[in-house]
């Protein structure tokens, strides 16, 4: 009943504006997707297309390939997060996008053009990631995006370029040890994410609050509207870095393998991206990126191995 009311309120406030998530109410309480769609079984969801031989010379993409289309356009259009510190966010000082995801995009641009600056970044909300890739308004989405079978039906994914897992962010003085200690508490997660679906399955039943942009969770947390935030540990570390009164707790209670989302209609681009990722794994640039963005949280692990389906 409460959920129903909250849903109606949320629907009203967002329909008031021109249907865009950008102006939807921030602390909109939305229900978790209780009846999760039956997940199709796709075997290993992280299995991607194998790179087809060595990468072509930058600036000389094969004719007829999607990379050629991008090269002829003069810029790669990448959907990234505008406010996920460490992965994709706009640096307030420089007004430029930066983060791990952004640097991966730069590596792809370098492979196409030989120039990391030929990128048009476009901010996408979590919920817009799949629709934007499907509509072709972006060439790819690199936005802390978990690969799973349900999403594979709609978009193609690169090989895994980062292993994350869901954790919880609470106030520094909280006694909670893990997500299971948050039964009945208000826990925020962004809409259109695996995080919000996973929260719905926590046995102690926290009260799930959904927002459009994940940073709105931090606002709600700082304003005391919610007690905790639960999403990928990577995202949570970025939030904790902005708020010394917050801490990230507990073990990972899910595995969130990140992939770059690409439109299903040009698999050659997925193979190309996988080639770039393969190069990053082997030439040490992946490790360098990890150290650059996440080194302060612990030793740099080995890059996640790629799994291919051929």
């Amino acid at each position: 009943m409460i959920l129903a009311v909250a849903l109606v309120a949320g629907a009203c406030s967002s329909s008031h504006h021109a249907g865009g998530s950008a102006v939807a109410a921030p602390a909109t309480v939305a229900p978790p997707t209780t009846a999760a769609a039956p997940t199709p079984d796709c075997g290993d969801p992280t299995a991607s297309s194998r790179p087809s031989g060595p990468l072509p010379t930058p600036g000389d993409m094969p004719a007829g390939s999607y990379m050629r289309t991008i090269q002829d356009r003069g810029r790669l259009i990448a959907g990234v997060s505008p406010d996920t510190l460490l992965f994709g966010s706009v640096n307030p000082f420089t007004a430029q996008f930066e983060g791990f995801d952004v640097d991966v995009v730069k590596a792809i641009a370098k492979a196409i053009f030989g120039d990391t600056s030929k990128v048009e970044y476009t901010a996408v909300t979590n919920a817009q990631r799949i629709p934007d890739v499907q509509a072709g308004s972006v060439d790819l989405v690199a936005h802390t995006m978990t690969i799973n079978c349900a999403r594979r039906q709609m978009v193609d994914f690169s090989s895994v370029y980062f292993d994350a897992g869901q954790k919880v962010l609470v106030r520094r003085d909280s006694t909670a040890q893990s997500v299971n200690d948050l039964g009945g508490k208000k826990v925020c997660a962004p809409l259109g994410t695996t995080s919000i679906d996973n929260l719905g399955r926590v046995p102690t039943h926290p009260v799930v609050v959904g927002v459009a942009d994940e940073t709105d969770c931090l606002v709600a947390f700082q304003q005391g509207t919610v007690d905790a935030i639960s999403t990928d540990d990577t995202v949570l570390e970025g939030m904790a870095a902005q708020d010394p009164y917050a801490k990230v707790i507990g073990p990972r209670f899910t595995d969130e393998p990140y992939g770059i989302a690409v439109n299903l209609s040009h698999p050659e681009f997925t193979r190309f991206i996988n080639g770039v990722l393969e190069q990053m794994r082997s030439d040490g640039s992946w490790a360098a990126l990890y150290t650059k963005w996440l080194g302060r949280f612990g030793p740099t692990p080995a890059p996640p191995p790629a799994s291919y389906k051929d």
Partner: protein
């Protein structure tokens, strides 16, 4: 009031008071039972002098009543004009509040666009807007008077404005530390402004507009003029009737005093009627032209500032601000029509010229906006931001917008000036009419009584 000194040197009471004190000067031929009022009335109606006295009384009462009715009509009208005059500054202030808030939000969002520390002039503009809004709000709380209609929006504004300022300053503090969460606070602030604060300001404004319009309708209704015209007709009919009766009974063709009295009363009523008509015309110009223009231009200003905020938020969205661009279009689409209407109803040449200039300045700004959009949509975000924010208030967009707003603001001032001057002119048309009517009606009644007394005296 109706006692009249007669040339003969003898004071003779007439009228209501006189009726009870007049001695048996008329020499009643059929005296009724002493002490009974019915008898006294019979005594009056059965003799010519008695009938003359009754008629004198009736005529004097009609003249006095006509004056009183006219005075009441003028008073009602003056009250209505005063209501309009009193509501007008409140409407102006409420409009200013609405616009200032929209401007503050547009400035706050624009400030965040460039990256780095915000331009000092932009920050100063935002702070002065907030200070102005707070002052206008305090004034409005003091002067709006009681009533739930104003209490609701005033409470919302007083509660939410500090919350808004807090959100903007949190955004600013986060921004200065390089935390992207600042952008989320800014979005929340803008949302609070658009969904709660501005609607409350608009509601406050519409309460004052309703009060003004109520006064305006009363200040040019036709009932008052009809009342005065009816009073004049009553004076004329009674005077002619009395003269005819006197002619039959006394064979005097003209009773100069009665005619003079009636003439004076009619003249005063006619002057009042002309004054009312004149004021009505001024009120119509003020209400249907100047105020309509004020209303339209105020809508233009507020919508334009909302659109300017949307322009910044679209860019801040970094490709995710499509909803703001849609809202921009919603806000600017009606502007040309609103300006065309304002041009159609504007009164003074100065206002017409300024509204025309505002319309072309709007096109200049929209051209810059389109350049921003095509740069942003074409992947040239930095170029778009340069156009939008550039060197703070000197950017192409901010300059074009400021030029447009300056014209709208000047036209609004001109319309407001026209409105006030027409209301004042209308007020001047009513000046002295009420008192004048009362004095003249009293004089007319006295003259009538005097005229009758001359005839009554002939029965001695």
């Amino acid at each position: 009031m109706v006692g009249v000194e007669i040339g003969a040197g003898r004071a003779v009471g007439v009228g209501l008071a006189g009726a009870t004190t007049v001695p048996s000067a008329s020499g009643p031929r059929h005296p009724g039972p002493a002490g009974s009022s019915g008898g006294r009335l019979r005594r009056y109606t059965r003799t010519t002098p008695g009938r003359l006295r009754l008629l004198a009384l009736a005529v004097a009462v009609v003249f006095a009543a006509a004056g009183a009715a006219g005075w009441a009509a003028v008073s009602r009208r003056s009250a209505a004009v005063n209501q309009v005059a009193a509501a007008e500054p409140l409407v102006v202030d409420a409009q200013a509040l609405d616009t200032t808030l929209a401007q503050a939000d547009a400035t706050a969002t624009n400030t965040f666009l460039g990256g780095g520390i915000e331009p000092a002039d932009q920050r100063a503009l935002y702070q002065s807007d907030l200070a102005t809004a707070a002052r206008l709000l305090a004034d409005a709380a003091e002067r709006s008077g009681p009533g739930a209609a104003v209490a609701g929006p005033l409470a919302t504004l007083s509660t939410e404005l500090p919350v808004y300022a807090g959100l903007v300053d949190t955004a600013r503090a986060d921004n200065r530390q390089g935390f992207p969460v600042g952008a989320a606070y800014l979005r929340q602030a803008s949302r609070l402004m658009a969904s709660t604060i501005l609607p409350a300001a608009t509601q406050l404004r519409s309460v004052h507009v309703a009060r003004l319009e109520q006064g305006d309708a009363r200040s040019r209704n036709t009932t008052d003029a009809t009342t005065v015209a009816s009073a004049a007709a009553a004076v004329a009919v009674v005077a002619v009737g009395a003269l005819a009766w006197l002619y039959r009974r006394t064979n005097r063709v003209l009773n100069v005093a009665l005619v003079a009295g009636a003439g004076l009363a009619l003249l005063a009523l006619a002057v009042t009627l002309v004054g009312l008509r004149g004021q009505q015309a001024e009120a119509a110009t003020a209400g249907q032209r100047s105020f309509a223009s004020v209303d339209l231009l105020a809508q233009v200003r507020t919508a334009a500032f909302k659109a300017k905020g949307d322009e910044s938020l679209t860019l801040i969205g970094r490709g995710n601000g499509g909803a703001y661009e849609t809202d921009f279009t919603t806000q600017v689409t009606p502007l040309s029509d609103l300006l065309a209407h304002a041009l159609a109803v504007s009164v003074s040449a100065a206002e017409k010229t300024t509204v025309g200039q505002a319309a072309s300045a709007l096109q200049t700004y929209l051209t810059v906006h389109r350049a921003i959009r095509s740069a942003d949509d074409g992947g040239q975000f930095d170029q778009a931001v340069k156009l939008a924010v550039g060197g703070g208030t000197d950017s192409a967009s901010n300059q074009a917008f400021a030029a447009f707003d300056a014209k709208v603001s000047a036209a609004l001032d001109a319309a407001q000036h026209d409105f006030t001057s027409h209301i004042t002119a209308g007020r001047h048309r009513l000046r002295g009419l009420g008192v004048g009517l009362v004095v003249v009606a009293a004089l007319a009644a006295a003259l009538a009584l005097f005229g009758f007394q001359q005839r009554i005296n002939e029965y001695r």
